[in-house]
Amino acid sequence: MPVITYRDAVSTALREALDEDERIFLMGEDIGPYGGAFAVTKGFWEQYGSRRIKDSPLAESVIVGAGVGAAMAGLRPVVELMTINFSLLAMDQIVNHAAKIRYMSGGQFTIPLIIRTVTGAGASVGATHSQSFEGWYASVPGLTVVTPSTPKDVLGLFRTCRDLNDPVLFVEHILLYSTRGETPAPANFRIPIGQAEVRRTGKDITLCGYSRMALVAEQAAAILADEGIAADVIDLRCLRPLDMETVVNSVKKTHRAVMVEETTRLGGFAGELVSQIQEAAFDYLDAPIARVAGEEVPIPYSFPLEQLAIPDARRVAAAARKILNRPA
């Protein structure tokens, strides 16, 4: 299997989309001659021209709103919000319009729109540029929220999302673009939405995360393995639709679980996971479900402080030991 970067996976998925479907065009800030803020669309403008690669003004609401309109009129836009922090400026379009037009129109209009955006902390870009709002969007019926953590998942999930007829928030992680991973060669390789992946199996505890925190959970599992603790590691991959079956089956096996996420604990998505696990598997639990989440602070700029604000493998392992009653 070829090894490529997460960035290459996004670029490849976008090129395929442009090559295979004339109804698809890209629109976003600096995706043209500049090549994209994260160099994902480098060379696209030169290759496909300004009709298909639309370099937009700095105007998030019209980036998404125009995507909605073009989708209603039969195209399949892929728009880019440079980061999920800027999605706040387009939230009316995402939540009030993209997610609701199909339902409010009695099913007369479909919105085949992909909104690509970038989440996450850890890049030393300060409080306003380091947030993780994907959990908020997962609370909106009508949206599909996808959070790939590997190049394989980017390719497999984007190919699936491309054919959906509903609005998708495709959430990439700022720290993952240069990570590498194997990707299956067949061009028809796809991953269905709403299907979590068990990335590692073990009988003692379930570690569950999404986006970069799935990788952090995996690192924690490696630490725990050295101590003789075998963990199931689950990458949710999608927040809506949400594959609770995989999570619950794992917890029924391990009887203990740690939920890992980058955003704050209060009002975070992990609370939803905990709630659904106890509804479905209360009798299987041998300990309270633990959460490792971001600290209840705006993300600070200073590097050592920022590291304290975000979950890491060491803290995930500590939370696991605690509910396993193992000494540190």
């Binding site: 019209v62 125009a66 909605v68 009316d92 009030n96 409010m104 129109s105 009508g142 639709p241």
Partner: protein, 336 residues
């Protein structure tokens, strides 16, 4: 006003049909207020009384394959575009036979068949959507236009600027049509909108063709729209039309509109577009009292039938609660 000789392309039948359409909207709104009082219509009800000449004068100049996008005060545009009064009234009552299957309500009327792309209730939100529809037309190399309605209140939203600028730089085939009725809910535009008295000039900042028109004169609206329509269709880029008009009722049926000076209401009552057009038709010797009576009776019958249809229509089935959230999969949480 124009003379009948100024509109040689319109015969008596055409002109009386404009009267009929305006009268239908007025009577429809009278009935909708009645049904609201009876408790058959819930929530908000924003009636269009006084602005009928805008919907009728503009939408009638469009082709069937053009697009209409509008705001939450959308009954008039929906009727002018050809959604039946029965389907609109049923939607207002939340019935399964409504034009949005009872899922949208008064503020969210849709018809994909008529390219009626919806009423939008978050002020300004529809302007960016209209720009996107314009992009789709341009992308395909087609020659349709998008007619996008909004009020003077929406001009204060950031989305106005985002949509106007994008449409202008990309020369999108969008007609931005402002129904300038002097109020954003209860706030006078004189207090909230610095350019309130020369609003069309705001489009100068976008290098966009702009026009002001008497929004209570159906033939003036129609005449301007025909010209603008042709220009926008020919690829010259978007245009901004400001029609000066007045809401003869409050913001919604729940609003007695006590904040408006009596003299202002009195003046605008004399400008009511329907009697004005009636007087014109009479003065020009085109229509007689009998013509009006005949149309009024037919309109009245239609509205009564629409109300009966809506009232006797079924509610949506409980299972419809979950229908239409997604195109590709069932909604989450359907009881098993």
């Amino acid at each position: 006003m124009l003379k009948s000789g100024d509109v040689p392309e319109l015969n008596k039948t055409d002109l009386l049909d404009f009267y009929r359409q305006m009268k239908l909207i007025r009577e429809f709104e009278r009935e909708s207020e009645r049904q609201y009082t009876r408790g058959n219509i819930k929530g908000f009800l924003h009636v269009y009384n006084g602005e009928e000449a805008i919907a009728v004068g503009s939408i009638n100049t469009l082709r069937p394959d053009d697009y209409v996008v509008t705001h939450y005060r959308d009954h008039g545009q929906a009727l002018a575009r050809g959604i039946t009064s029965s389907e609109v009234m049923a939607e207002l009552m939340g019935k399964a036979t409504g034009c949005s299957q009872g899922k949208g309500g008064s503020m969210h009327l849709f018809s994909s068949e008529l390219n009626f792309m919806g009423g939008y209730a978050i002020v300004g939100g529809q302007l960016t959507i209209a720009a996107g529809i314009g992009m789709a037309i341009q992308y395909r190399g087609a020659d349709q236009v998008v007619l996008c309605f909004f009020g003077d209140g929406a001009v204060n939203e950031g989305e106005f600027h985002e949509a106007m600028n994008l449409a202008a730089i990309w020369k999108l085939p969008v007609i931005f049509f402002c129904e300038h009725n002097l109020y954003g809910m209860g706030a006078s535009s004189k207090e909230t909108l610095v350019m309130w008295d020369s609003l069309h000039k705001m489009a100068d900042a976008y290098g966009m063709a702009n026009y002001e028109v008497d929004g209570n004169d159906v033939l003036a609206v129609r005449g301007l729209m025909r010209k603008v329509n042709a220009e926008v269709r020919s690829g010259k880029g978007p245009a901004f039309i400001v029609a000066r008009t007045y809401r003869l009722r409050g913001h919604s049926v729940a609003d007695p509109a006590n904040y408006r000076p009596e003299t202002e209401v009195e003046y605008w009552t004399t400008q009511d577009p329907i009697p004005r057009f009636q007087d014109w038709l009479t003065d020009e010797g085109i229509a007689t009292v009998e013509d009006f009576e005949e149309i009024d009776a037919a309109v009245n019958d239609e509205v009564v039938l629409a109300a009966e249809f809506a009232e006797s229509s079924p509610w949506p089935e409980p299972a419809a609660l979950y229908h239409g959230v997604y195109a590709d999969r069932p909604a989450e949480g359907i009881p098993t």
